[in-house]
C-alpha cells in the first residue's frame, strides 16, 4: 500500500509541477497567439441574450469567446484601467459618450478599412453611424441605438378630460395643471433628476426639443446664451417644480429606476424615458399602469419648428491590439459582424432578439419593416409609428468630447442647483460654459 501511495503522491506532485510550469511558461504567449479566441468585454446587460448568441457564434465559427462583464456603474473605470494595463481585450461595448476620449487615447481601432463591417452602414440609421464616427473615422458597429421618448398615461389624461398629448411645453404645463386641479394626481409630470446616468440625456432631449444646442458647430459653448435652449429648459424645469408644482421637489433625488416604478404604478401622467423602457412599462407583470402608457412626440419649445429628442447608441469597438494581429483581427471582425451585423442566418438576428426580448431599439433600418418587430411595437407601445418618427428627429448629444465625463460632473451639480432653486438658470449654465472652455483649452 505504502509504495504505491508514495508513487501516486510523487506522480501527483510531478503533474502539479508540470502543470504549474506549463501555465507559467505557456499560458500568456498561447493566449496572445491563440487564433481561435475572442476576448469580449461588456457591461452586465442582456447577459442571457449575449451568452446565447455567443453559443451560436462559437457553434458557427468554432471560435471561442472569452466573455466578461462589469456593472455599468463601474464599466468605464474597469475598461480604462484594463486598457491602460494592456490587458487582453479584442472587442468591447462602448458608449458613444466615451468615443472621443477612447479614440484620442488610441484605445479603439477604426474600422474604415474593414469592408466586411463598413458595408452595414448602408442599412444603418444615419445618426447611429454618426455617433460611431469621430474625426471622420468610424469605430464600430452598433449594439443598440435609442432615443428619449415622451410618454403619457392615457388613463390619467382621460380622467382629466384631456384628449390628446401636449404638443408644446406650455401645453404640458396647462395639461398638468388641469390634471392637478381635478385631483387625479398630485405631480402629473415626472422627471428623474437625480445625479444619475441619464440626467444629461433627459436635459439634452428637452434642450433639443426647445430647438436649442449646448455647443455651436464651431465647438464653442452656447449653453449660457438665452434663446439657445439650455437656459429656457432649466428655467422650465425649475418653474415646473417650484412655481407650477407639477413636478415633485423629490425629483432631484429620484433616479431613473425609481421613476420607472412610480410611472409604472400610475402615479404620473407624463414622463421622459429611454424608449427601451416602454416594454417594461406596458408589461402587466411589472407595471399596474400597463397598457395605458403610450409614446407621444417630444413637446416643442416656443422657438422650435419641429419635435426633436436626444438619441444615443452603444456599439461594438475593436482594440488596436486586436486589429494589429491578423488572427485576432479576423476573429474580432467575425464577432462584431455576427453581433452588430448579420449572423450566419444572413439576418440581423441578435438585434431583433434584443428588441423582442428586452425592448432595445436598433440602428438597422430594414428591421423596421419586419413583421415580428411591428408586432412587438403594436403589443408594447400601441404601434411603432410615433417611435419611428421620433427616432428620425433624434440628435446625438453635442457635448460629447474627450472631456465630456469631467464636464458632466460640473454640469450635473449645476443643473441640480437650478432645480433646487439655489441658482439662476443663467448663472448655472455660465458655470457649465466656463468649465467647457477650461477643459477644451487644457
Amino acid at each position: 500500500m505504502f509504495p504505491s501511495a508514495t508513487l501516486s503522491r510523487r506522480a501527483l506532485i510531478g503533474t502539479a509541477l508540470s502543470a504549474g510550469a506549463a501555465s507559467l511558461l505557456g499560458t500568456r504567449p498561447l493566449r496572445a497567439q491563440m487564433p481561435s479566441a475572442v476576448n469580449f468585454t461588456a457591461w452586465s446587460a442582456a447577459v442571457d441574450q449575449v451568452k446565447s448568441h455567443i453559443g451560436a457564434f462559437e457553434e458557427a465559427t468554432k471560435i471561442k469567446v472569452n466573455y466578461e462583464n462589469f456593472p455599468w456603474a463601474q464599466y468605464r473605470t474597469s475598461v480604462v484601467t484594463r486598457l491602460v494595463a494592456d490587458a487582453p481585450m479584442d472587442v468591447l461595448w462602448v458608449s458613444d459618450a466615451w468615443l472621443p476620449e477612447f479614440a484620442e487615447a488610441q484605445w479603439l481601432a477604426s474600422i474604415d478599412d474593414i469592408p466586411e463591417l463598413m458595408k452595414y452602414d448602408a442599412e444603418a440609421a444615419a445618426y447611429c453611424t454618426q455617433s460611431m464616427t469621430y474625426k471622420g473615422k468610424q469605430y464600430g458597429l452598433s449594439y443598440y441605438g435609442d432615443h428619449m421618448s415622451f410618454v403619457c398615461n392615457t388613463d390619467i389624461m382621460q380622467r382629466a378630460g384631456i384628449d390628446r398629448p401636449p404638443a408644446t411645453w406650455d401645453e404640458v404645463v396647462e395639461a398638468s395643471l388641469k390634471i392637478k386641479q381635478k385631483g387625479v394626481v398630485e405631480y402629473p409630470m415626472l422627471l428623474a433628476l437625480a445625479i444619475d446616468t441619464w440626467l444629461i440625456e433627459f436635459v439634452s432631449a428637452m434642450v433639443f426639443a426647445h430647438g436649442g444646442r449646448f455647443i455651436d458647430p464651431a465647438g464653442a459653448p452656447v449653453m449660457a446664451e438665452p434663446g439657445r435652449g439650455a437656459v429656457e429648459t432649466v428655467a422650465w424645469i425649475r418653474d415646473a417644480i417650484h412655481k407650477h408644482k407639477i413636478i415633485s421637489p423629490g425629483a432631484v433625488e429620484t433616479p431613473d429606476i425609481n421613476a420607472l416604478k412610480a410611472f409604472g404604478a400610475g402615479q404620473h401622467a407624463f414622463y421622459i424615458v429611454p424608449t427601451y423602457r416602454l416594454r417594461a412599462l406596458n408589461d402587466p407583470s411589472q407595471a399596474t399602469a400597463a397598457g395605458k402608457i403610450r409614446p407621444a412626440l417630444m413637446p416643442r419649445g416656443p422657438r422650435a419648428n419641429a419635435t426633436a429628442t436626444c438619441g444615443w447608441i452603444r456599439f461594438y469597438g475593436m482594440t488596436p491590439g486586436a486589429k494589429a494581429n491578423a488572427a485576432r483581427r479576423a476573429n474580432a471582425v467575425k464577432f462584431i459582424e455576427f453581433f452588430g451585423g448579420k449572423d450566419i442566418t444572413g439576418t440581423y438576428r441578435f438585434q431583433k432578439l434584443l428588441l423582442t426580448d428586452l425592448g432595445l431599439p436598433f440602428c438597422t433600418m430594414p428591421l423596421a419593416v419586419d413583421a415580428d418587430v411591428k408586432a412587438f411595437w403594436e403589443k408594447w407601445a400601441g404601434g411603432g409609428d410615433i417611435i419611428a418618427q421620433q427616432a428620425k428627429s433624434a440628435l446625438k448629444k453635442d457635448v460629447i468630447a474627450p472631456w465630456f465625463g469631467e464636464w458632466n460632473e460640473t454640469a450635473n451639480t449645476a443643473w441640480q442647483s437650478v432645480f433646487l432653486d439655489r441658482a439662476t438658470p443663467e448663472a448655472a449654465t455660465r458655470v457649465m460654459a466656463d468649465k467647457w472652455l477650461e477643459l477644451s483649452k487644457a
Binding site: A105, G250, V252, E406
Partner: protein
Amino acid sequence: MSGAAGGTPALAAGSAFDRLNRRFGYDERSAALLILPVFAVLAAIAVFPIVYSLYTSLFDINLTRPWRRPFVGLGNYTRVFADPNFWIAVQRTTLYTVVTVTATTLLAVAVALLLNEAFPGRRLLSALVLLPWATPSVVNGLMWKWIYDPGYGLLNGLLTQLGLIDHYAVWLGDPDKTLFMIANAAIWKQMPLAAILMLVTMKAIPEDLYKAATVDGANVFQRFWHVTLPALRPGLMLVLVYETMISIRHFDLFLIMTQGGPGNASYTLSWEIYVETFRNLKFGIGAALSYILALATFSLSYLFIRALGRKLA
C-alpha cells in the same frame, strides 16, 4: 571565485554578520526571522501603496491621456487648494464629522449608562443595541434611503400618522437637511460600538468610588460628573479618535444615498476623492486629495490623544 575576487567584501560581510550575532541573541534573531514574512507582506500591501500614492500625487496623471504624465511637484496640491469645490468639501466634511462624532459620543454615553444599570431584559437589550452595528454599510444606506423616500418612505408615513406633518416632505433632496439625514444614518450604525466601548470602560470603574461619593452626599448627577465622567476618559478618547477617523473619511453612505447631491449639498472630501479618481480618472489629484485627508485625520487624532491622553497620565 568569491574568495579570490571578492575577499575583502566577504570579510566585511562576515564581520557585519558577526557584529549582528554579538548584538542580538539567538531568540531575537529567531523572532526577527519569524516576523520577516509578515513584515514583507505588510511592506508590499501597505507601505508600498502608501509611498507610491505619495509619488503619484506629484504627477499629473489622467488615465484617459495615457501618453502624458508630467511631473508637477506640489502642483496637484496647489490646484486642490485653489479649487473652490475643495473648500466646499472641507465645509461639508467638517459639519458632517462634528455632527456625527458629537451625537454618536453623547448617545453612546447615554446608552452605556442605561446598560450599566441592572434591570430585567438588560442582556436582551444589549444584544438588540448591537444589531445596527452588525448591519452591512450598503444595507444600512439602502434602508435609510428607503425610509427617507419622499414618495413612499417610512419616515413620512410615520410623521403623517402622528399628525406632525400634513404633507410628505423631501428629506435627502432638500440641501438644508441632506447632511443631517445622512449623519443620522451613520449615527444609527456607529453608535452601538461606541456604546459598548463606553460600557466596558464604565464597568472598570470601582464601585467603591460611587459608594464613597454617595456617603459624601453626592446626588446622581454629581456622581456622574465627578466619578463617571473622569473615569470615562480612556473610553472617550478611543471613541472620539475612532469615530472621527470613520466620519471624516465616510464614503459609502454618500455613494448610496446622494452621490454628492443634491447640487453639492453632500459633496464631502471622500466624495471628491472618488469623483476625481474614479470618474475623472485623475489619479494624481486623487492621490493628493487622499494625502490631505489622511493628514487631517492623523492631525485630529493626534490632537484628541494629546488633549485626553495628557489628562489620563
